[in-house]
Symmetry: C2
């Protein structure tokens, strides 16, 4: 059977004390079957993001190791930072990568959520594709009020946790565990210094103001060059492919006589997102990912 690969991207509420997050990162690295792809630490946000992949069972063990390390080391009653947070382990998303479906990730989120609640007495809220009710789908709604507001918020039956105690953990708060599509952070640079052009284009392409439903976008200035940027998150690259976003930005920019001077991919992205763009621009009539030699190797292994 082909090896299942799921990505797990826990966000933890420590981005300043290197001795703390280094110890946590080292422990994850040592979990058999898990490959750590990336870890970033932000002092302003006082938050770290770990990215690792593996089959579901290995990821479950990695999350167990994560809590074992985090609980004695991170105390949210002493935590401050720019990023909203409600837990020492704040959020644990699972993302299908290879030989795994979204349903596999939902099943894993439920299983891992239950394990966290039972073994560590931390209440768990399921979110996004794993959410147990429509009002609990959006992470920002779950986290609204943050760690400090949890004791009051959790009295509301609409905000009872999916697993675990009815009150927050005294130092670790609560965790959101979910399943979602891979997110692509994609920025397009425009040949103008007029920030309003970037803001207008961002408004035109993002779902929240009438544009593409799976695009989040904002216009931002660039410090070191005479250009402005449409900074985006593509939250479902299968339903809203990269090339469509690129072409819509290009079409909107034409209204201002502004060219696209380049673009930037932040972090990692799934191969399929770029292959689809190539197939679009090269107008491949018989397109299938099976045309890619390497994809035939992986299916066999």
């Amino acid at each position: 059977m082909p090896k299942q690969l799921i990505e797990c991207i826990p966000n933890i509420s420590e981005g300043r004390r290197a001795e703390v997050y280094d110890e946590i990162v080292a422990a994850i690295k040592a979990v058999p079957g898990v490959t750590l792809l990336d870890h970033t630490h932000d002092t302003d946000h006082n938050r770290s993001v770990l990215t690792f992949v593996g089959p579901g069972e290995a990821l479950k063990q990695a999350v167990r190791v994560l809590y074992t390390k985090v609980l004695p080391l991170i105390d949210l009653t002493r935590h401050s930072g720019a990023h909203p947070r409600m837990g020492a382990v704040d959020v644990v998303p699972f993302v299908p990568i290879r030989n795994a479906t979204m349903q596999d990730c939902v099943t894993l989120a439920l299983e891992v959520g239950k394990m966290i609640a039972e073994e560590f007495k931390v209440p768990v809220f399921l979110y996004e594709e794993a959410a147990s009710a429509p009002h609990r789908g959006n992470l920002s709604d779950i986290r609204k009020g943050e760690f400090e507001g949890l004791p009051e918020k959790m009295k509301d039956p609409r905000w009872h946790p999916d697993y675990g105690p009815a009150q927050p953990h005294p130092t670790a708060g609560a965790t959101a565990v979910g399943a979602r599509m891979p997110l692509i952070a994609y920025n397009i640079n425009l040949g103008t210094s007029d920030i309003n052009v970037a803001k207008q284009i961002a408004k035109a392409v993002r779902g929240s103001s009438g544009g593409l439903v799976y695009v989040k976008a904002m216009g931002v200035p660039l410090a070191n060059r005479p250009a402005v940027q449409v900074s985006m998150n593509l939250v479902n690259y299968k339903k809203t492919p990269m090339y469509r976003v690129f072409e819509m930005v290009r079409a909107e920019a034409q209204r201002y006589g502004v060219p696209i001077v380049g673009s930037e991919i932040v972090g990692l992205l799934p191969q399929e997102a770029l292959l689809e763009a190539a197939a679009y621009y090269l107008q491949v009539e018989n397109w299938s990912p099976r045309l890619v030699l390497e994809n035939n190797l992986e299916a066999e292994s």
Copy 2:
């Protein structure tokens, strides 16, 4: 150490007797470490093409198994077909795919060539990147005269084999063993029924008449639709990328007011060729294959 993957695409002179080529294919499939990706059989050409991958050592064993099967089953003195051929096993190219360089493939070609000569008494000519002299680089020059012309041709010192006897094998002839880049078979369809447009564009883009050096092209009519085709082989997609070929065909077609209506990839192609096209069209400034999540997994395994 990352696992070495080299592709081997032997062409054998049997494409009609299914019981013969099925037995050969089954034997290759059973070689440990080898993954058979594809096999095609052409009755007009009376020729079969096997495509398999693996590390060098496994491929060497696969070629040994190939000769063990082919020698008693295929007799070139009784062979006819449209495709030029000089051997029962006609040509054995090695192509670097992953964690392998062209030099690795050249080394492997020499080693396998020597093995074929010693163990099976079949003379071997090295070709393309593995060639021992400039006049022996091109496969069609080596094969000129075919099986029937070999006894006379091999008397010329310029056509002594690199390994093995100074005369052809009585029933198996000789084999060309080489190393080359992956070849991409790529066809672009034009929205006209005028075959001359396809022929003129093919002439403009192919290296042999002044176009792109690593492109072979011809204009062909399409039987089942009102379109014509520029049918191409891209023999070095790293130096002449797909998008550049596509854009040159588009630019040439504009002279005739003819649109590109689609394109077609024949067989398999390396992932990198499409990723580079995506990076070009999306104008990615920070492009690197390392941005692709899956490529980070493979580097670790």
